[in-house]
Symmetry: C3
Subunit: 161 residues, 3 copies
């Protein structure tokens, strides 16, 4: 009997720096062991995938503009889920990780790409929050709940983060 | 060899509107594909199942009354996990979803019932928070951790939300 | 064909009292049914494992001292994820659980040890937050993401809490 494959999926719902780091550490760890990994970014998790210095040229309604302005743009702007203290906590954690030579979130994301981690942005959440494809980083896929479930049913480890 | 069944379980611990929406989107998506889905509502997640305009006639002690008053009563009263801004964020999200013809939480919950999603309220949490069966919506089941584990061991996808 | 084993793993990322209680209820429930259970404590989850009245003698830098002082020391100091109200919510919940003869977190942790639940502290998070082995409770293991994945691939139920 063939070994069952050790695929891994994660729903990344949270847009917190610490949870994003945890999800990419698991993702790159699993991918480095040769496993297929799919990360499905939904709701606030989409903020992890936003380009840092980019303003969309698309027409947005009032709510979409407001969501767009208030939500963090990419890994450099994310806060911590605890002890964020107006961003100071996030800065402290980034400094500590750099000082101790632990991979930062942008480095982990780069590593994930090189290891062929499958990054999927949830199209329904993009619609709700008014985020366009041009506002997200390149080299990702797009899908809905059926895409997620298709991968999850084929995986051994499924997490909601 | 028979196909392994694609059962799905979710522990819905959170009582946040956005996480409740995410959990019911996964639940109805999986159920629509013919899979058995069990949602186990515990702690704050019980608030998702509370009747909106109902005051229990049971005798409650001081703490139970206090928990009962402070916690949101049903899907219409839930807040967002992020950017709630005293309820304005939740209102905004509900308006956007309605404008874009995306199913709202009450609609998703109705759909889940029609698709025979198995909704279980955690009896231990009900005891801790002083919530009676009369205060929760009809047509649900009741159980404890053994009920949950029984379903989870039989499922392919298990999430904690 | 042999029965697949019902191993369970949990990543305990959160350091909230309510989530810690939920994770240990699942862990002790599963272990009582004879299953192998591994809890992998990472980030704020490490606070659950801190000794309550202990000051490390190790040399710490400024950030490590600050993290160490600001983060809760052990189960008695944890707050709730919702309605904490400066610690009053946590006190209320502990009182209610005691009044209703529901196992408290320290009791659940004791039970987990007796049931041979495998408790693992994430060494990378310990490094980031500046937490030494001497500051964590006795009788636990230490490991990284590979340790976690090794257990997760062998389990039926994997949760991120």
């Amino acid at each position: 009997m063939a070994e069952e494959n050790n695929n891994t999926t994660m729903v990344v719902f949270s847009g917190d720096l610490d949870k994003a780091i945890a999800s990419f550490i698991i993702a790159t760890g699993a991918a480095a062991m040769g496993d297929r990994v799919t990360m499905f970014f939904t709701f606030w998790g989409l903020n992890v995938l936003r380009k840092e210095n980019y303003t969309s040229t698309e027409n947005k309604n009032f709510m979409e503009k407001m969501f767009g302005k208030m939500m963090p743009k990419g890994p450099g702007k994310l806060g911590l889920s605890k002890m964020n203290m107006g961003g100071m906590g996030a800065k402290m954690m980034k400094k500590v990780m750099k000082d101790k030579n632990i991979s930062t979130l942008p480095e982990l994301m780069e590593m994930a790409k090189e290891l062929d981690v499958n990054i999927v942005a949830c199209t329904m959440s993009m619609d709700v929050l008014g985020i366009g494809k041009d506002e997200l980083i390149d080299g990702i896929d797009y899908g809905g709940v059926a895409t997620y479930l298709g991968e999850a049913y084929d995986a051994k480890v499924n997490l909601f983060i």
